[in-house]
Amino acid sequence: MSTLDLSRWQFGITTVYHFIFVPLTIGLSLLVACLQTAWLVRKDPAYLRLTKFFGGLFLINFAVGVVTGIVLEFQFGMNWSAYSKFVGDVFGAPLAMEGLLAFFMESTFLGLWIFGWNKLSPRLHLATIWLAAIGTSLSAYFILAANAWMQHPVGYRVNPVTHRAELTSIVALLTNSTALASWPHVFFASLLITGAVVIAAAAWHLRRPGEQAGADRALFRRVLRLGLSITLAAAIATAVTGDVQARLMDSQQPMKMAAAEALYNTESPASFSLFTIGSLSGNQELWSIRVPYLLSLIATLDPHGTVKGINNVERAYVTKYGPGDYKPYIPVTYWSFRLMIGFGLLAGLLALIGLWLTRRRREIPRSSWFYRIAIWGVVLPYLGTTSGWIFTEMGRQPWTVFGVLKTQQSVSPGVTPSSVIISMAVFTLLYAGIAVVAGRLAVRHIKAGVPADSETGTPDVQLPVFSY
C-alpha cells in the first residue's frame, strides 16, 4: 500500500477511535454539572452521590479522549503535510483558537474540579465543572468549524502566486452554515450517547437481585427515567438537526447526497431505499425496498423536489474541475448513511419503550427483557455516530477540501510507507489495549454502584475516585 492509502487508514482509525470518547465527555460533563447544581439547590444528598458516580465515569473517559486528540492535531502535519501547507493559513486558525480559548479552559478547570472539593467554596467549585463543560462544547465548535471548512470552504481565496489558501474572513469561517448546522447535530448525538450510557448503568443495577441493589433501587429507577428522557429528547433533536444538515448537503455537496442514496440518475420525485442489493462496481440496482417521495423530502423539503443523480453531478464536476473521477466509494456512503439513521432511531425507540414501561411510577420486573436490551443498547448510538462520521468524511472524497484540494494531493511527500506502517501498528495496538482497559474500568466503576452517603459525607478526605 502507498503512503496515501496507509495514511488514510491511519487517519480513519485514529479519528473514529477518538470520537468514541469525545461524545461522552461532552455529555457527561454537562450531566455532572447539572447534577452538582441540583445538589446545591435542593440539598438532596442523592444528587451529590450521583455527581460523584458519573464524575468518576467521566474522568476515565476524559483521559482517553484527551490523548487521542493530541494525535489528531499532530497527524495533520505528520501525515498530511501537503494539506497543512496548503490550508494552514485558514485551517490552522480554528485549531489554534481551540487550544487557547477552549482546551486550556477545559483541562485547567477540570483539574480544579477534581482536586478542589475541599479547597474551593461550593459555589466556586460548581463553577469549575460548568467552565470545564462549556470549554468542552466550545472546543467541539472550533473543531467542527475547521471540519466544516473542509466540507464547504468559505472566507478564503487561493493565492495565485503561492498556490496556497489564504483566510479572507474569520467571521465567515466561524459562522459557516455547515458548522452552525453540524455543531447541534454532534452535540445532540453526544447527549444521545450519554443518555444510553446512563440507561445501561441504571438497567444493570435494577436487574440485580433485590438484596444486592438494596436501598439504591429507588435511586436507580430515577436514574433510569432520567437516562430515558435524555435519550428520547436527544434522539428527536439529533434527527431534526440531521435533517437540516441533509438539505445543506444537497445544496453544498450534491454528490454526497446522491451517494448517500446511491441515486445514479436525477429523479423528481426521488424515493428513499431502506435496503438495496446492487452490483458493487456498476450502476445497477438489483433489488430494493423503497419509500416513495422520502429522498425528495429529506433533500428539498418538497415531496416532488428534484434530487440530482451521481452521473449527472459527475458530468457537471468534470466540466467544472476537469477530467477525473469525482465519485466517493458508493457502498460505504450508502450503508453508513442508513446505519447512522437506523442506529439513532433504534436508540430513540428503546427510550420510548422504556418511558412507556415506566409510565406513572410503574415498575419493570427485574427479570424483564427490557433491561437486557437496555444494557446492550448502549452500543447503538456509538455505532450511529461512528457511521455518521464515516459517511460525512468518505462522502467528501475524492476531496480533502471540497472542490479545492484532493486527498491524493494532501499526503506528506517525504514520509515513507514503512514509517506509516510503524505508526499505524503502534497506534492500533496502543488504542486497542487502552480500549480494553478503559472499558473494563468503566464497567467496574458502574458495577461498584453509587458511592454511599458515608463516603461522600466526609468532606475532609478526598475520595479515592477524585485523587490519583
Binding site: 484527551v66 490552522g92 487550544g99 480544579l112
Partner: protein, 356 residues
C-alpha cells in the same frame, strides 16, 4: 517588528510555558521509581502534579496549533520530517496520561507497578526527545528545494542532538526534584532536595557544554548574554536548593529553562527550520508564515485570551499552593497516623509520623 516575527516570539513563549510547566511534571514522573519508595510516597508525588499536569500539556497543543496557523510551512516540514520522533513522543504521552488516570482505579500492587512504569517511561522519552528535536532545529536538517525533509530518524541522533536531549532530560529532572521539594513535606521533601543537588552535578556541565557549543556554532551577541544568564540562573537555583530555599531554587530552574529557550529561538531567528542541504532551501520567518490577515486575526485572539489563560492557570497554582502531605490523601501510613487523617493536617506531626 513584523507580525511574522511577533508570532515567532509567541511560539517561543508557548514553548517556554510548556518547558517550565510540563518540565517539572516530566521530572516528577522520571523520579517516580527513584524517590517513590512505597505506594504512599508515589501517590504523594503524583498528586502533587495531579491538578496541573493536564493544563500544562495544553501548552504543547497550543504551540502546535499556533505553529500550524502562523507558520504552516514550518509545521508541515517539521512534523512530517520528525515523523518517527513525534510518534515516540505521542505514544509516550498517551501511555503517561492514561497511567495517571488509571493507576489508582484498581487496588493491586502489580497493576500500580505497571502504570508506574508507564509514567516513568512516558515522562523520560519526551523529556529526552524534545531536546533532541530542538537541537536539530537550531542545527538545521536536510531539506530539499520543496522544504521536504530528506533524512530519517537516525539523522536526528547526531552528537549535538543527543547532547540537547540529555540537557532537557537532566534539566527537567532537576526542575521536577525541586518542585517536589517545594510541594511536599517530611522525608520526601528532604530526599527530593538532596537528590536535586546531585542531579545538578550532571545538569550544570551538560547545559553549560550545550549552550557553549550552540553559541559557538549559531550564536549572536545578545544570545551570548542570555546563554550566560541561563548558566547563572542554573547555578543560583542549585545553590538555593543546596541551602534549602526551595522557592528560589524553583525560580532558578524555571529561569534557566526560560533563558535557554530564548537563547535557542534567538540563535534560530530569522530561520525557523534551516536546511543543511543548501541554505536557500531553509524555512525562515518570512517564507514560512501565514498571510497578513490571518496573523492579524490571531494576534488579536492571542492578545485578548493569553492574559485570561495565564490568570486562571496562575489561580490554579494559587489554590493548590500548600505543601501536600500524606494526610491530605487520607493515606494511613502507619496505624498512629489514622488519628491525624483529615484536613490539611499539621505538617510537622505528619512528617514525624511518616518518618517512623
Amino acid at each position: 517588528m513584523s507580525l511574522a516575527a511577533f508570532w515567532f516570539v509567541i511560539i517561543a513563549v508557548l514553548w517556554i510555558g510548556y518547558f517550565i510547566l510540563e518540565g517539572f511534571d516530566f521530572g516528577v514522573g522520571i523520579l517516580l521509581p527513584v524517590l517513590g519508595r512505597d505506594n504512599a510516597s508515589r501517590r504523594l508525588m503524583i498528586n502533587a502534579i495531579g491538578p496541573v499536569w493536564d493544563g500544562n500539556e495544553v501548552w504543547l497543543l497550543t504551540a502546535g496549533g499556533a505553529t500550524f496557523a502562523a507558520f504552516p510551512l514550518w509545521y508541515a516540514s517539521l512534523f512530517s520530517g520528525f515523523y518517527l520522533a513525534l510518534l515516540l513522543i505521542l505514544a509516550a504521552l498517551i501511555l503517561r496520561n492514561v497511567a495517571f488516570e488509571f493507576r489508582g482505579k484498581v487496588d493491586d500492587r502489580r497493576w500500580r507497578a505497571c502504570w508506574d512504569a508507564a509514567i516513568f517511561a512516558g515522562s523520560l522519552v519526551p523529556a529526552l526527545l524534545w531536546g533532541v528535536a530542538f537541537a536539530n532545529i537550531v542545527r538545521g536538517v536536510p531539506l530539499n528545494a520543496a522544504h521536504v525533509y530528506t533524512g530519517n530518524l537516525l539523522t536526528l541522533l547526531n552528537w549535538y542532538g543527543l547532547l540537547g536531549g540529555l540537557v532537557t532530560l537532566s534539566l527537567f529532572t532537576l526542575h521536577g526534584a525541586i518542585f517536589l521539594a517545594l510541594k511536599t513535606d517530611g522525608p520526601l521533601r528532604e530526599r527530593a532536595r538532596r537528590l536535586a543537588v546531585a542531579i545538578a552535578l550532571a545538569a550544570v556541565p551538560l547545559a553549560a557544554a550545550f549552550l557553549a557549543v550552540s553559541q559557538v556554532g549559531h550564536g549572536k551577541p545578545w544570545t551570548d548574554v542570555t546563554a550566560a544568564l541561563a548558566a547563572v540562573a542554573l547555578l543560583a537555583g542549585t545553590a538555593a536548593a543546596f541551602r534549602g530555599r526551595e522557592g528560589w531554587a524553583f525560580l532558578g530552574t524555571a529561569a534557566t529553562l526560560l533563558l535557554a529557550v530564548v537563547t535557542l529561538f534567538g540563535d534560530l531567528y530569522p530561520h525557523v527550520l534551516p536546511s543543511s542541504t543548501a541554505a536557500r532551501y531553509g524555512l525562515t520567518v518570512a517564507n514560512a508564515s501565514s498571510s497578513h490577515y490571518t496573523l492579524t486575526v490571531m494576534t488579536w485572539v492571542a492578545l485578548v485570551f493569553t492574559p485570561v489563560v495565564l490568570a486562571y492557570q496562575g489561580w490554579t497554582y494559587w489554590v493548590f499552593r500548600k505543601r501536600l502531605t500524606h494526610a491530605d490523601l487520607g493515606d494511613q501510613v502507619t496505624p498512629e497516623a489514622t488519628g491525624s487523617t483529615g484536613g490539611t493536617g499539621e505538617p510537622g506531626t505528619t512528617a514525624a509520623t511518616v518518618g517512623r
